[in-house]
Symmetry: D2
Amino acid sequence: MTPTKISETSKGVYIIAATPFTDSGELDLESTDSLTDFYLEKGVTGFTILGMMGEAPKLTEAETLTVMDRVLKRVGTRAPVVVGVSHASNRHVERLSKTAMDQGAAGVMLAPVANLKTDEQVFNYYATVAKLLGPEIPICLQDFPQSTGVHMSVSVIHKLIDDFSQVVMLKHEDFPGMRKLSEVREQSMAAGRRRISVLVGNGGLFLPQEMLRGADGAMTGFAYPEMLVQVCKLFDGGRNEEAEDLFNVYLPLLRHEFQYGIGLALRKETLKRRGAIRSAYVRRPGPMLNGTDMAELGRLIQRLERRLAELA
Amino acid sequence: MTPTKISETSKGVYIIAATPFTDSGELDLESTDSLTDFYLEKGVTGFTILGMMGEAPKLTEAETLTVMDRVLKRVGTRAPVVVGVSHASNRHVERLSKTAMDQGAAGVMLAPVANLKTDEQVFNYYATVAKLLGPEIPICLQDFPQSTGVHMSVSVIHKLIDDFSQVVMLKHEDFPGMRKLSEVREQSMAAGRRRISVLVGNGGLFLPQEMLRGADGAMTGFAYPEMLVQVCKLFDGGRNEEAEDLFNVYLPLLRHEFQYGIGLALRKETLKRRGAIRSAYVRRPGPMLNGTDMAELGRLIQRLERRLAELA
Amino acid sequence: MTPTKISETSKGVYIIAATPFTDSGELDLESTDSLTDFYLEKGVTGFTILGMMGEAPKLTEAETLTVMDRVLKRVGTRAPVVVGVSHASNRHVERLSKTAMDQGAAGVMLAPVANLKTDEQVFNYYATVAKLLGPEIPICLQDFPQSTGVHMSVSVIHKLIDDFSQVVMLKHEDFPGMRKLSEVREQSMAAGRRRISVLVGNGGLFLPQEMLRGADGAMTGFAYPEMLVQVCKLFDGGRNEEAEDLFNVYLPLLRHEFQYGIGLALRKETLKRRGAIRSAYVRRPGPMLNGTDMAELGRLIQRLERRLAELA
Amino acid sequence: MTPTKISETSKGVYIIAATPFTDSGELDLESTDSLTDFYLEKGVTGFTILGMMGEAPKLTEAETLTVMDRVLKRVGTRAPVVVGVSHASNRHVERLSKTAMDQGAAGVMLAPVANLKTDEQVFNYYATVAKLLGPEIPICLQDFPQSTGVHMSVSVIHKLIDDFSQVVMLKHEDFPGMRKLSEVREQSMAAGRRRISVLVGNGGLFLPQEMLRGADGAMTGFAYPEMLVQVCKLFDGGRNEEAEDLFNVYLPLLRHEFQYGIGLALRKETLKRRGAIRSAYVRRPGPMLNGTDMAELGRLIQRLERRLAELA
């Protein structure tokens, strides 16, 4: 059976999956399985594995393939899996992308390499890779200047959409970036351009506003993915106020997890407390929670659960 | 009567005051007055004027003095007023600081100039200015690397505290920065060092967590300063859960205003809607709200007011 | 008599003029005069005053006008004077530009404000200012990303040339930037576009290569401007090998002065040793030469003079 | 026979070795051999392989080991070989370092990971890795903020020297960085601290000045390594003027190769023209020379050779 690829009409929640390790830093494949199950149980539409928050740059090549294989097999045909393939070398991007697709991935996500400065350079980078991958591999553009240092303008995004049919999705996480999201939608419509899928990142900090501006869902992590799923569904059904009310219940914790760097440690610790993984270990160098951080997180989780109980 | 200077024991809310303009971009001194009154009515402890969010780099020298004079006269002895004096030239910092103090300011706030790279350079910069200003002018260090590009380490902060008695306050807005706040407090206590006042910035996005980690209050803007005031009072009285409940009611709007750049336009527009100023104009080049931005903001304000009505 | 404005056909050496101070940091107007005379004696084609290396951000408004007035009067009709007008506020840019032109300036130089991220933003910034200034004020675009953090793409430069006749000159100092210089020339010619003047910066480190790629001269500082003048003349006369031979004699010192930051202190010290100014003071915070720096500079000057004597 | 490790007394020229590819981008091991021989014939003291200019981030793990093995075997005991081990994951740094040492490397070179902001963070990063590697693996600190974005202060360097005996060498390539080099030497001597080896980078652009300030040699690339070798020897023998005269002959070309990014393509092309490698291919995305670049380089080489002939 052919797995479904991502496309212009993809929507919902593509969870940015964490990569679980043991307390000594080895891959924990049993936790990979349990985390995959956890995400599926919470109702995610799809997965994005081996992204920055999946600690991909800290995996060996063998580990990369192991994680990819494990998740793809576990998920099977239940959900599309996008694979992060960003790398300093185009040869690596090509090799990993093709392997991923051969094994059943739904598409690839690609951030620009560092040091691209102008629109021409950004366009040429993606154009080169798109040609290497060919029209059959769907590409999700990752627009995340806070991390990459590369600014992708709206006109570059549109030129890529015009020139490469395989560009079907934008992971929108410029910040502040709501104006940009609206411009992508409005200029695209005004020009009768192909409408692509836009999923939002940045931990979902502005998810309700972004849904109202034309996002199709979220491609981000959060240790309570069920909220992201439910919020997207409510917006999809036009129940905007309910959606935002629900979102706001989780906002204090979501904002806490939004912190760059330490956010990953907080997310893994929360996933551990929820039973989804066995260890919250983040590979070194990386953020480590101390006693104060742990107590603070515990208090925020407790406050959330109390509030959820009140609302139940 | 001698106005009160800021000191190590300062606490509460020092509002980062906006600078009102007319729709054609001239200073609007009547709005300066009404905004000053608005802040006082909402219960702020003190003011910080001519900061980055006060559009100080876009004022002429004469306008700078006009705004300073107007606010200082309007406030009188009702509250301490800190003056932002950050500038490329030390001569300017010295001149503005001394004028401000002569006219009744409570202290000065100083961010490092750009391009300081190491601890030695940051320390030397502040040491030079502290000597120029002398021991009678209280200094608030502004630690805001997202804007200045300069990283101030905990050891530099401590060395400045040790060497200069006039360093009495830290505006903490590194992000993510909660670990740093705790380190300032803990390492300072462990070493029996002078405890200075720490007020938090970043729009107050993590105010409850920061109060629990030892902050003495906030030095930030937000178009509903009464919330900041009330939250700080509740924490001060040990009513932590109530404080955070109240904070969370405003969090959706506060998070919206937190957006760098456009946040200033959103804040001014909200202040205008609340009747505090007559125009939301931001000097060019600067952010401008379009119809979508206006509708989005209106919806968030409406949601807040509905929620406040429910709770009343 | 109407002073000559810069235009698309401007060429030669526009010296980036230093701003002389006394040892206590006050403006030294006698040195301003003697430095102006020095530059004229060395044969410069024009001047650029109040640029970054002219310490413009450290001058008061009154000092800015004083320096401008003094240089414009001293130069008279002997050479065109471009005035640097870069500033955080468009109102300031407009005011200073119009004053400068009223007093006889030949045009203005404008770098983009910080935090412009995409082609659209860079274009819109310049378009807004160009409209404020009107078609009668010639503009020199300063493309200096190492200092501004803003990257100006070739297509933005071309769009500005197409839309605004007052854009007549490019100060090219992206680094490495030779490819960009060639692209400006080649794409412009291929499209039958108006050919503007391109003068190179970066201390002239690649002047021979840039002249061969289509530059019209240099807009930069160097404490031996006579070399820049002579090299440009030789290239203009097709005597390329001679030009580069001469350039290479000075290259060791030029490379030394190329160092960002401390380069200004080295340049002023050299100008002082050559009798052009009385003090090498740089306003604080700023680079200061210590004994090692002084001895090192002295040795390089001595080596240059020895070599010049050999060649004489 | 035990290969020699680098130590505090290492000096001379450690060439930053290029990694040769075929025109289709595969490793070219025959060229790896011929390039190794070329460097040895030109008299280099040692090698540094798998650095940034060796395109290490674009190699697969297997290729990394292949290149390392090939060079180590070819060099044998004729020269010490330092291996670049910088990586996002400490586990990788440890694994590669230990493999390298087992196979006969003389030490490892380590740049800090991105996003380290303060002295504490930089120190802790190196301290963690130093402990992982143990006291038997000599470490060369790479201080290259233009590329890493991380600023290493003099006090951090000294604290690392004090705490870790395995820190024996500094690759100094902060820019401008001559003051820093002097401070390392002077503060170290003043404090009676262990004196480590300092080799300079940045293509050697300031090699004579740096030798006079206390550098022990160069760790950099340049397509004419024989010049670097000869200059270091002359300085070592106190023949400073001769050394600098020789350096200046090559300075025009060296300055050309100094250009970040495209410099690597220029270096490989020059090495190819000198017969040291068969292809100048740089892995994608990477700089590519066009016709203008080729002609420009050819002219500079021709000028150099003419000058060398004159001097012969």
